[in-house]
Symmetry: C2
């Protein structure tokens, strides 16, 4: 690979945080705006989000969900209706106090999340069991005031989808929360090439207002975890606070059970930090806005551009997202740019290749270069992409397995967290005090309690009391 | 048609404004939210917007446009940079003054439109002719403080797309503004079944900050016009205000020429008011979220639901959006609901039809009912939809032609506007005073100066001075 030849970025293992910011900027995924904490999603970055959105939207619709759009703002009094939820979000809100040159009678909260907007609407439109379930989703941006921000990972505004559903009983609502978790897992496996670690959040880490929060966690290259999406079983708390009720088949008026769930542009951060390398972004093929970059060598020579165009047209017909870089930059510069942008396959065609009826195919994720017959390269691309996707997923999975350690000893736990990072599987008594101790000692937090509770001991190594849960611990973004 | 049988709505010709609001509510397109002026886009209403969005997004991408996402907010100082533009929008802005429990050092304007955000970004990323053109678009919501609001037509928040492009010279920029106008016209013709009247806005009616504004105007059933979309040639005004410049091939540093353009959820209002009738919404087939509603009659009888399912499956295979209403409501109620929602085709299947191997097909737009062989109904649906679309477009076009009148006499003009509404073609001297007089006398405004300037006289009937332009005048939403 043409390492950092044209656009200098920091080495990944030298300063991971700086490398991350460099990639975000140099791959032209984002830019900073004039409003602190608010970023610009540039075309290449936004295209990654569109890829995820199209994939999810299709699955949401196939499973009976409908898109809606709720207002950007809510009156402060509405926002204050559900106490736990307010406690979680109030410190982070942006507030509109002036509209049309006048001080507003009631301040408007810019949505940090839309539970209360959905609930106040549901209270109006749900009266009977016939109105259930309601399975709504919206694609929008939300605003949460953040002091320290990082592109895609933490910002004052981010793009996301938020699902909000209403069900006749707990069983159906919990099933919904788990079904969506399956969809998120599938997104990781099939599109992002990221294996998620899945489980339930502890009381301390769950969503404000939820009974249970389920989460998908991903392990970054630097050994830190990234919470990548959550689904919540909300119970009847919001329904009671907002007077949502329905007359059931048995004639009794009941509060329905709710869920909410979301993934955000954070997932772009996950893709960067799981797959990227010293030459920049490395994109999984099915997410990549451009899957194949054709680079002509000595493009002024007879037949070079024509051969590139023919290959492009063949690939387009096969449904491949392909581009020719026929700019007046040098091939070396073009290679670097293609690498920085993480394009999965680069195909080089020059006069010498042409004379031999050949071309050079370079795989971005491992740098492998092969010479191939031009006559078969087009038909080979789909299989290349599939193999690259599979290899990237397996690499990411190996990284998780290699960096998941088990201990029954708290001293060893502290050592692993400080020296090696990654996940540590360790038992826990269920007390928040122990979570707080872990955080104070190591900065690590409980990421989730996996569904498959295969105990690794009987006592909580933190306090010595009997253990209740197996927990994945890690430092996290 | 089962007129107003189940869900009472006002007669269209009795009180058009009330009829409109009734349809918006009863067809479940929208609901009011707790924040005054902010509406909820319910699933059926949002699906209409998604239909338009998918159609346009595809054409934008095919013509080389890229999607981005700019921040929701801009610092007040940035907003104030381009003077004309500020004059147009400042009175309508919503302002965030508090973030994270603290008074902000600089107030943040919630975007009423995003010219200044795009410009400040373009100033950073454009330096050379190699960086041009830039053809960006974004799908988002914008906030404009409105005192009187109507669903989809005028609200404090609406959904739209806003294109912002940068070009090397005036010729290319003007071509872009006109090319997009063609795309909007095509949207009307192919998807919405609405013929737009197209032309240039007068100085008084143009966008704050534009050199020229082009617009698409539609004529509603009540004879009022609705500005349905605009494209602007911005010249170099924004480029100068924001220091956007590029070094051209000739080595000279120049300001580029810009455009911006947009359509919004207003188009939903246009669809309602062009096509709707006393039974509710009437949707053009290619926009309709459900194109065919199958209604079983005596659905408990042997074979009825099975026949419905078979037809549904056949239609799904043909790419038709189809639904069976097998709820426990009466057929009459189901007919009314299907009509209220404007579903283009209703197919009724009952035991007697089945015995004869037949079904009943009802067209929503003209109420026509025919009995057809079940064996051929499935394959006939695409042709039905095509004919309905064509007929709806022709009806709308006839309405425009029937309600476009020409005059050279100002007294006659006032009479037409007050008695018949519709467009009036009349010459104009080019002076704003005459536009103001027309507005004061009749409430009508100049809608546009058509590209095809076929003069209908030599003098301006308003002031008697020599005429410069042919203008379409109308009362408008």
């Amino acid at each position: 690979m043409a390492k950092n030849q044209v656009k200098e970025i920091t080495d990944r293992d030298q300063d991971f945080a700086q490398w991350y910011t460099d990639v975000c900027r140099k791959a032209e995924l984002m830019d900073y705006s004039e409003a602190k904490g608010f970023i610009i999603y540039r075309p290449y970055g936004y295209a990654l989000w569109e890829g995820m959105k199209d994939y999810l939207d299709d699955l949401f619709k196939k499973t009976g969900h409908q898109n809606v759009y709720m207002p950007l703002v809510m009156p402060e009094s509405l926002f204050l209706k559900e106490a736990e939820h307010v406690e979680g979000f109030a410190p982070e809100t942006a507030i509109i106090t002036i509209g049309g040159n006048e001080e507003l009678a009631e301040r408007l909260i810019v949505r940090p999340t839309s539970e209360v907007l959905f609930c106040s609407h549901y209270a109006k439109i749900i009266t009977s069991y016939r109105d259930l379930p309601k399975k709504y989703n919206q694609w929008c941006s939300v605003v949460r005031w953040e002091k320290t921000t990082r592109p895609f990972l933490r910002g004052s505004e981010f793009l996301w989808q938020e699902g909000h559903t209403v069900h006749k009983d707990e069983e159906e609502a919990r099933k919904e929360a788990l079904d969506i978790l399956d969809i998120y897992e599938k997104l990781g496996k099939d599109l992002l090439a990221i294996p998620f670690t899945i489980g339930i959040k502890t009381e301390k880490e769950k969503f404000a207002g939820a009974v249970d929060t389920y989460s998908i966690e991903a392990l970054m290259h630097d050994g830190k975890a990234l919470q990548s999406g959550t689904t919540h079983y909300l119970g009847t708390g919001f329904a009671k606070a907002f007077n949502i009720s329905f007359q059931d088949k048995d004639g009794i008026v009941k509060n329905p059970h709710q869920t909410s769930w979301g993934v955000s542009t954070r997932l772009i951060g996950a893709v960067i930090m799981v797959h990227g390398d010293d030459s920049g972004l490395v994109l999984p093929p099915y997410l990549a806005p451009i899957q194949v970059q054709i680079i002509p060598i000595q493009q002024h020579k007879d037949g070079v551009l024509k051969a590139c165009e023919e290959l492009k047209s063949e690939l387009l017909d096969a449904g491949i997202r392909v581009n020719i870089d026929d700019s007046d930059k040098s091939p070396g510069w073009k290679f670097s740019e293609s690498e920085m942008k993480g394009i999965p396959l680069r195909i080089e065609i020059g006069p010498r290749d042409l004379a031999n009826g050949q071309c050079v195919v370079a795989k971005r994720y491992n740098g492998e270069k092969t010479t191939m017959d031009l006559s078969i390269v087009g038909e080979s691309v789909p299989a290349f992409l599939e193999k690259i996707h599979e290899a990237m997923y397996q690499n990411a999975l190996m990284n998780v397995l290699d960096n998941t350690r088990t201990t029954t000893d708290y001293e060893e736990f502290k050592k692993i967290i400080s020296e090696k990072q990654g996940y540590v599987k360790m038992m826990w008594c269920g007390e928040e005090a122990c979570e707080e101790k872990v955080k104070a000692d190591t900065q690590a937090t409980s990421r989730c309690m996996p569904f498959n509770q295969d105990p690794v001991g009987d006592i909580c190594p933190i306090c010595g009391k009997p253990a209740k849960h197996l927990v994945y611990w890690a430092k996290a973004y």
